[in-house]
Symmetry: C2
Subunit: 193 residues, 2 copies
Amino acid sequence: MPRWIPRAKERLRDSAVELFLERGYERVTVADITERAGLTRRTFSRYFADKRDVLFAGSELLASAVGDAVAGADPGLSAWEATVTALREIGDQLAEELVPTAANRRVVIRSSEELQERERTKFALIATHVADALRARGTPSPLAEVLAETGVSAFRAAFDQWLDAPEERSLSTVFDGITAELAARIGGMTGNG
Amino acid sequence: MPRWIPRAKERLRDSAVELFLERGYERVTVADITERAGLTRRTFSRYFADKRDVLFAGSELLASAVGDAVAGADPGLSAWEATVTALREIGDQLAEELVPTAANRRVVIRSSEELQERERTKFALIATHVADALRARGTPSPLAEVLAETGVSAFRAAFDQWLDAPEERSLSTVFDGITAELAARIGGMTGNG
C-alpha cells in the first residue's frame, strides 16, 4: 500500500518546471525530476505518464469543466455570451491555482516546437468541448465551432496578457477587455439586420 | 541533369493520397508512392521531405500569401475587413486548384491524430502571418492575434463546409455567410459605444 505523500504532485510539477528552465526541456529525464523532488519513479507514475505530461496534466479535466460551464450557463444567454461566461468563470478558478508556475511553464513551452504543438492541441480540445456544448444548446455547425474557437483564442490571449502582471488585475478583467474589443471590431463591420 | 517530368509533383501527390486511402496512412511508404506514380525516390525528394509532407506541401507558401494579401489590402479597411478580404481572395484561388484531391485529403487527415496536429500547425502558421500583417497595419497585440485566429477559424470552417459540395457554391460565398453570422452573433452582445 503506497503511503500518502503530502503535495507529491505539486512537488513533482515544481521540480520538473525548475529543471526544464535550468537545463532545457530536452535534456531533463524523469529520473532527474524524481531526484529533485525527493520522490520515487513509482510516485511519479501515479500522477504523470511522462515528462511532457507534467506540463499538460489536467487538460482533459479543464476542457470538460469549460464544456460543462457552457452547458450549464443561463439558457437565456446567446451562444457567444454562454461561451464568454463559461471561460471567464473557469478562468478565474484556474488563475489562482496556476499563478506560482504559469510564468515559468510559459517559458518552457515557448522553447520547444513540440510543446507548442501540444499546447495548441490542449486549446483545440477545450474548443471542441465548448462547440459540443453550444450545439447541444441549439447553435448550428459550423457556427458553434467558430464561436468556440474564437472564444478560446480570446481566452488564450487574455491568459497570456494577464500572466505578464498577474498581481495588477484579474484574468477576467483582461478577458472582458479583449472580448469587448473583439465585438466592436468584428461586429462593427456588418449592418447586422 | 535531371530531365523534366510532366506533372511529377501532382502525380506523386495523387498516388500518395490514393494509397493513404486504400491502405491507411501509417502503412504506406515513400517507396509505395513512387512505385504507384512510376517515378523515382530521387524525383520524390525533389518535391517532398517525407510522406507527411505530401499532404502539407505549400503550407508556408499559403501562409505567406495570406499574410501578403492582408498587408496589401486597402489601407482604408479595418483589421477585420482586411483579414476577411485576404482570406476570401486567396481562398478562391486555392479552391480551384484543390478541388480534385481536397476531399480525399480530408479523409486521410481525419484518420490520424498526428495529421490533425500537423493540420492545426498549418492553420496556426497562417494565423501568425495574418497577425504579423495586422500589427504592421497598426492593430495592437493581442487583438491582432485574436482577429487573425478568428478569421482563420471561420475560413477553415468555410473550407470544410464548401468541400461537402464544391460544385454547388463558391468557397467565398460560404465564407461570407459564416463571417456575417459571426459578426451578428459576436457583435450583437455589446453596446459598442
